[in-house]
Symmetry: C2
Subunit: 433 residues, 2 copies
């Protein structure tokens, strides 16, 4: 599990706060489900590896067989349960944000932890959800990355799974759909020759392989990619629907001035199932080896395991714990958030404690972060402690109390600013010259 | 477990943010330990009921007997482990804040949940920690409650356990110390006659009982209570130390202008062990039946279970989940935080979607929270949806696009404000008259 020292924790919390702010700015309502859910609810969706990685939760007095609760491993399953449970109290489309830790007992590896923060946004419709909402999700996530002020660009690679599915239908390959999706999903991690070989192994003929390779090679601006797709002259309705949806999403993102940060990219698949339309993935093009730093897409039905009702949705997720690890490792945070506080008030002796508390209280009320150094050490030791925590120090001794003049010394520049102790009594006029 | 609808969640998060802000303003560094800790570490301190309430955590493949991990039940044990583990990377006194959920499998009851947020601050010294820090904890917690803007006053009741311990030593009753502390700890929940009876049952004589009842009846301003304690003419050194410490803490709190919000109160004990000096508890005097809404005190040694080194500390905790429940139930939040966002942009048809995205992006960049209504419903339905989420609506139709004039309509007052669509292109001059 990740555990941070106060300086890094401050940077981490800063990113988390920025995410929450942009999500809120874009009209997503934050909810928080309990970390502990009923196991049968969590397992309704989970399968394979996920199921093995789930942490079950039992009270000391219980036996493990009776363990009917577990820690959530993502935000999607709890969200599905939440939407079904509170349907009548929500307004649809429900734009929702979830920011919090999830738990998977997977083998620890670089940047992957067993407790990890996921920062999700989703838009859930009732019965139907217009395609334009997909653009809202992607633009909000791009704005979130903007707010991080990274020292490297971010690119959203966007596709629509209906295009490939339509092409496979057109090629009468729907029965091999699962295998083909799987090969394309892995294509980026292997050479083009290996992908070609995989297709051959599947028994596809060379013209078909060429069509598939041509498709997944399509990437670029909206105008380029949409023109190229139209030039394929495929009249399968699902294919055309996918092209049209992709076109709309890209068009709306261009309308928000994001042209440089988006790319149509037909290689994007995002796993084998779940997503049914729009799919996207963010990368840092200058650091391709990192892989995806954000991803998501459109799903037909959020809560099919819990209800007959249909809740189509679109969503995206930032894996904050892994992202923070990467940004730190690669030094990609342009401005490291300042974890030093504004002031350390340093009374020389106990005789000035009352004045120190008084001054600190006033500084805090004026939203200046302030600590008071109350150790009975030598002044030098007190200042040395203060420089580790604060940008400026305010020493208070007998002289300062008598002269009614306080000096705030900037620990970095050495510059001092005068504060009048009398004026300090009037918070309105605090910052006297 | 508690689960909130978006409006209540917004209020809850607002309180949590205020707590984090005041803690930061007062120079406490926020840390976050994993929710999952090794069971032996958690059990080092826990005993009795707590141990029974611990949630053990096991992977699906493991048997319960091997469960060597569990969910933290408070922030104190993880903090002790953190301080010992990271000692060399921390500056002491270490002023630390922890805000997050803890878990106890206790029987659910009103306002008590199995997942509950605790918001702790602590100051940890190495070898020693001056008494003045106790005042820093209490003043920070009082400022935190101020930031909630409650419709009712808050009072910090403050005592020092050395006073009672010193008196018991003076009365040669140290062997009955545990029982006497227990009776006093419960005295507030029973009649004075019952307390007297409990003392009698313990075999105390009437003069002794009178002295104890007189002591725990002492409450009031610093000057009154300290004078009354001095008038007892007890020369036990622990007693005198306690009186002196209490005096100093109250004096420093008065220096920060908190005289009306504090009361010396010798009835405060805060449980049977752990605390060794200052103890305090916040109440809402107009709602005494609620009991304590915040509490804490001084402890001799944070990490005695993990190390030979001595880490004395002082801390306090706000049980946010229960507090939120109470404040909601009693309607004590003076200003309910606004969970509506600023704007809903409502394009009349798909032809205005691009303009809607464009306007929304600009509003968001100017830190106005904005959603776009993209459902293909009738305008009336779109507006009805918008009023549930936003304070103002901006309808965009053909006319608005042509005239380059947008109107933001306040859903409550009906007032409209004009925005110039051309000017919208220049974010600097956004708010045209």
């Amino acid at each position: 599990m990740q555990e941070l020292l106060p300086g890094d924790q401050s940077t981490f919390n800063n990113l988390k706060t920025k995410i929450a702010e942009v999500y809120h700015l874009s009209g997503y309502q934050e909810i928080e489900t309990p970390a502990i859910e009923r196991t049968d609810i969590l397992l309704a969706k989970a399968g394979g590896d996920t199921e093995k990685q789930i942490y079950k939760v039992i009270k000391t007095s219980e036996s493990a067989d009776k363990a009917d609760q577990a820690l959530r491993f993502d935000h999607t399953v709890p969200l599905a349960r939440y939407v079904v449970e509170h349907e009548n109290d929500l307004s649809f489309p429900f734009k929702v944000a979830q920011i919090g830790p999830n738990y998977r007992g997977e083998r620890a590896q670089k940047g992957r932890f067993r407790e990890f923060y996921q920062c999700d946004i989703d838009i859930i419709g009732r019965d139907q959800l217009p395609i334009a909402y997909d653009a809202d999700i992607i633009s909000t996530l791009l704005q979130t990355f903007d707010s991080f002020e990274l020292d490297t660009p971010v690119l959203a690679r966007i596709s629509n799974r209906k295009i490939l599915s339509g092409l496979l239908s057109h090629l009468s390959l729907t029965d091999k759909s699962k295998e083909i999706h799987s090969i394309i999903d892995h294509a980026e991690k292997v050479t083009p020759e290996k992908t070609k070989f995989d297709f051959e192994q599947l028994g596809l003929d060379q013209p078909t392989i060429k069509k598939l390779l041509n498709l997944i090679d399509l990437r670029g601006s909206r105008s380029e990619v949409i023109a190229a797709l139209n030039n394929l002259d495929i009249i399968d309705p699902l294919f055309l629907e996918g092209v049209n949806e992709l076109d709309q999403v890209l068009y709306l993102l261009e309308s928000t001035g994001l042209t440089d940060q988006i790319s149509a990219d037909l290689q994007i698949i995002r796993g084998l199932d779940y997503y049914t339309g729009t799919v996207f993935e963010f990368i840092l093009p200058e650091h391709k080896n990192i892989g995806s730093v954000c991803g998501g897409g459109r799903y037909e039905n959020l809560a099919s395991h819990f209800t007959e009702k249909k809740f189509p949705g679109v969503g995206g997720s930032i894996g904050l714990t892994r992202l923070f690890y990467i940004l730190n490792e690669k030094h990609l945070l342009l401005t490291t958030p300042e974890h030093l506080i504004d002031y350390a008030v340093i009374p020389i002796s106990e005789r000035e404690y009352d004045e120190a508390f008084n001054v600190a209280a006033k500084l805090r009320r004026k939203h200046r972060s302030t600590t008071i150094v109350l150790t009975d050490k030598k002044l030098g030791d007190k200042i040395s402690y203060a420089t580790k925590l604060a940008r400026s120090g305010i020493i208070i001794g007998e002289e300062e109390v008598n002269s009614k003049i306080l000096k705030a010394k900037d620990f970095t520049t050495g510059e001092t600013t005068e504060l009048n102790i009398e004026v300090v009594s009037n918070p309105e006029d605090f910052w006297a010259d």
